[in-house]
């Protein structure tokens, strides 16, 4: 199947056929074939003056900007761009608000017949695009330049629209949503970077569960697109946050934005015997340690023993030169002499055993021996 973009002119009356607006269930029209606003999607509050301007444009017979619909099935679509304009029109025709017309407030029903007809016959200019999921995604990204920019995850939500996505949004995608408040002390926002409204929390959650299942975000979403609920994702996400909170009982801001889910996938069976009290005293000590330059690396270091994560302070050029002169350029391990540029600084008492980054704990090793030593 190749990418297909169709230009269409669609009358307001056709979109209004069976129009339904329900804050929980979303907004549909076009005889149930068009998702104007899917469930739990960003609910823009369209200011009355903007809304009135749309009606004014239509009444004057002037063109509205082009709209984009994505094809989601045999004969079903989702509004990708033009949501608010569409809703403004539909809500007006549905009689839910009035605008000034000829100096009087008028609902749709109060307008003269011919003016009502003019609105119903007004043609929306729509690009309908169809293709495989990945083609659509690519295409969305290309046109995603006008108006309110969509995030990658918002685009994915459009491509993989369905029962699963709708359910996932309920937990992850509203401001002050369940996910953003989950947790006993700070809420998941203490662990996950991003904005729930912009779907960034959802994106992180899916990336973690996708890692668990050895797939990608797109892979996970397309696989689960037609699941009735996203309960699995929600309970998995809660488990990850509970795990992180259970290990590191004292919250610190450095915990935000770390790949907790990825770590949980690798370690959850192995961390059962770690003592939270012991971990806390280690965290506290490392946070005060001047040699630890990357404080957020403390957690990775404690879980995986990966010293690189800490970005431990290196010996200065002065310290290196001093040690080189003290050793007269001889590597203490192999006994050979080297020029300084062929040698590397090393902690005599390893940093992990409490050795500090001070001149008296510095020795120069030849490059080969230093690599050997750090691999031991």
């Amino acid at each position: 199947m190749t990418m297909d973009i169709k230009e269409c002119r669609i009358k307001v009356s056709a979109v209004y056929e069976n129009y339904e607006n329900d804050e929980e269930e979303g907004v549909t029209g076009y005889n149930d074939r068009l998702d104007i606003r899917p469930k739990y999607q960003r609910e823009f509050v369209y200011k009355p003056d903007k809304r009135d301007a749309v009606i004014d444009t239509v009444l004057q017979g002037l063109p509205l900007n082009v709209m984009y619909w994505a094809k989601t099935g045999e004969d079903t679509y989702e509004v990708l761009d033009g949501q608010q304009r569409t809703i403004s029109l539909m809500e007006y025709v549905d009689g839910n608000y009035s605008v000034e017309y000829d100096g009087n407030s008028m609902n749709f029903d109060n307008l003269p017949q011919d003016i009502q007809q003019r609105i119903l016959d007004y043609e929306l200019f729509v690009y309908i695009c169809d293709g495989t999921d990945s083609e659509k995604l690519k295409w969305f990204k290309t046109i995603n330049i006008a108006g309110e920019r969509l995030t990658d995850q918002e685009l994915r939500n459009a491509v993989y629209a369905g029962t699963w996505t709708a359910s996932a949004k309920k937990y992850f995608s509203k401001s002050n949503c369940a996910a953003s408040r989950y947790g006993s002390n700070v809420g998941c926002e203490g662990y996950v970077r991003g904005d729930s409204i912009r779907q960034e929390i959802l994106e992180t959650a899916i990336s973690w569960i996708a890692d668990r299942d050895h797939t990608t975000i797109d892979g996970y979403m397309s696989q689960h697109q037609n699941d009735q609920t996203a309960q699995e994702l929600w309970s998995y996400f809660r488990t990850v946050i509970d795990w992180a909170e259970g290990l590191f009982t004292q919250y610190r801001k450095e915990m935000k934005g770390l790949p907790w889910g990825i770590w949980y996938n690798q370690l959850n069976k192995k961390t059962a015997d770690l003592d939270p009290k012991d971990l806390e005293s280690k965290v506290s000590k490392l946070m005060c340690d001047e040699d630890v330059q990357k404080k957020s690396g403390v957690y990775e270091y404690l879980l995986f023993g990966n010293e690189n994560a800490l970005n431990v302070r290196a010996f200065s050029e002065r310290d290196k030169r001093q040690a080189y002169e003290r050793q007269k350029g001889v590597c203490p391990l192999c006994g050979k002499q080297y020029p300084i540029e062929k040698m590397q600084a090393d902690h005599i008492k390893p940093w992990s055993e409490g050795g500090q980054t001070i001149p008296e704990n510095c020795q120069m090793l030849c490059t080969q021996d230093n690599i050997k030593k750090s691999n031991r």
Partner: protein, 368 residues
């Protein structure tokens, strides 16, 4: 609209005469559309040509399939710049006599194809809809207004806040359906709260942030960044209704878990303090004290309302301990065992609604 008020009238008016904006009425009432077909609607605090309630029901008369619309009010309103003469040549005095407007039909009376307030005025002139003087003063408690209330199915208005309690009590006692605007403090009234507790009354969709802007003939003295010209900003405003709406059946997703540190118990009542509605723990099965704004999120299938501080403490005696350690010891308030920063060892709580979760999750916290 309010700018059309005569000075004379503004002087006579009480401080609680505000006009609700049409857009606010539209935003709330769109959720109730299914309730109005074949019904008689009464707006009994509304001057037809000043009030947007009257205008809303005129403009939507046919779409909502109303049977009848009644408004009781003071006469003498300008419409679309021209004085509508109701009863021949009135004196200035007569223009302020209370009258009732009854609408049974709205159609294009002036032949311009549209149906607007101009047609409404024309239909009064032609006698198809009627405007009559009231004998009394138009007070909703007067005999003639009460009989109009008897005739009505649904009452929709913004009653004077100073008379809210009596007003809503009258509607409830007469088993009327209604959608009316009130202050959030009204939900604590002795005449109101029991109905909320028994699910015979609930809150509507409301205003953004519970803040309303009313058209007002008075200066907005509230200092706020959101000041709007010709408007008065009033916070803590809600819609009260007993018509069913979707919102009451939406479960609040609970994400917090109980632990005794974050949810301390009151010293004078067996319930935990929950300072924010969104922090209600999902796994606590006992009584919880929540702020009164919880009512905007209340789903009767999810929670049971046990009472309020003043109902559950009605027979309580304040302990000497609290009396000796708090200089404003009130018998009907909850206290927490922590200093309040004003020299008292106990903290007195604002009014709280006491609720219980009907389906709590298993508690994770183990009592030691």
């Amino acid at each position: 609209m309010a700018s059309n008020l005569t000075l004379n009238r503004a002087n006579k008016a009480k401080k609680d005469e505000f006009y609700t904006q049409l857009s606010d009425i539209e935003n709330e009432l769109k959720h109730y559309r299914k309730h109005f077909a074949g019904k008689t609607v009464l707006c009994n605090c509304d001057d037809p040509f000043e009030s947007n309630f009257f205008q809303y029901f005129c403009l939507n008369f046919n779409r909502l399939k109303l049977r009848k619309l009644i408004a009781t009010c003071y006469s003498g309103s300008p419409i679309s710049g021209s004085q509508l003469t109701l009863f021949g040549d009135e004196t200035e005095e007569e223009k302020h006599t209370p009258y009732k407007a009854v609408v049974t039909s709205i159609h294009d009376a002036d032949g311009d194809g549209a149906t607007s307030m101009v047609d409404v005025a024309e239909l009064f002139r032609q006698g198809e809809n009627t405007i009559e003087r009231l004998q009394g003063n138009g007070d909703f408690r007067s005999k003639e207004c009460m009989s109009l209330l008897d005739e009505a199915d649904i009452v929709v208005t913004n009653p004077p806040f100073s008379m809210f309690e009596e007003y809503i009590s009258t509607l409830l006692k007469k088993n009327k359906k209604f959608v009316i605007i009130g202050n959030q403090n009204a939900l604590k009234y002795k005449a109101v709260f029991p109905y909320l507790q028994n699910n015979e009354l609930w809150l509507g969709y409301g205003f953004p942030g519970n803040v309303a802007f009313f058209e007002s003939p008075y200066k907005d003295i509230a200092v706020s960044s959101t000041h709007r010209e010709g408007m008065i900003r009033v916070s803590g405003i809600m819609w009260y209704t007993n018509l069913d709406i979707k919102k009451r059946h939406e479960e609040l997703v609970l994400v917090k878990r109980y632990n005794p540190k974050d949810y301390p118990k009151y010293v004078n009542y067996d319930a935990i303090e929950v300072g924010k509605t969104s922090d209600i723990p999902c796994d606590y099965s006992g009584n919880m004290g929540v702020p009164i704004t919880f009512m905007t999120k209340y789903d009767p299938e999810q929670f049971e309302i046990v009472g309020m501080n003043w109902t559950v403490l009605a027979d309580a005696v304040l302990s000497d301990d609290i009396r000796n350690h708090h200089n404003v010891a009130r018998r009907l308030n909850f206290y927490l065992p922590k200093p309040d920063g004003r020299g008292n060892d106990y903290s007195r709580m604002y009014d709280r609604i006491v609720i219980r979760n009907r389906h709590p999750e298993p508690q994770r916290y183990q009592e030691v």
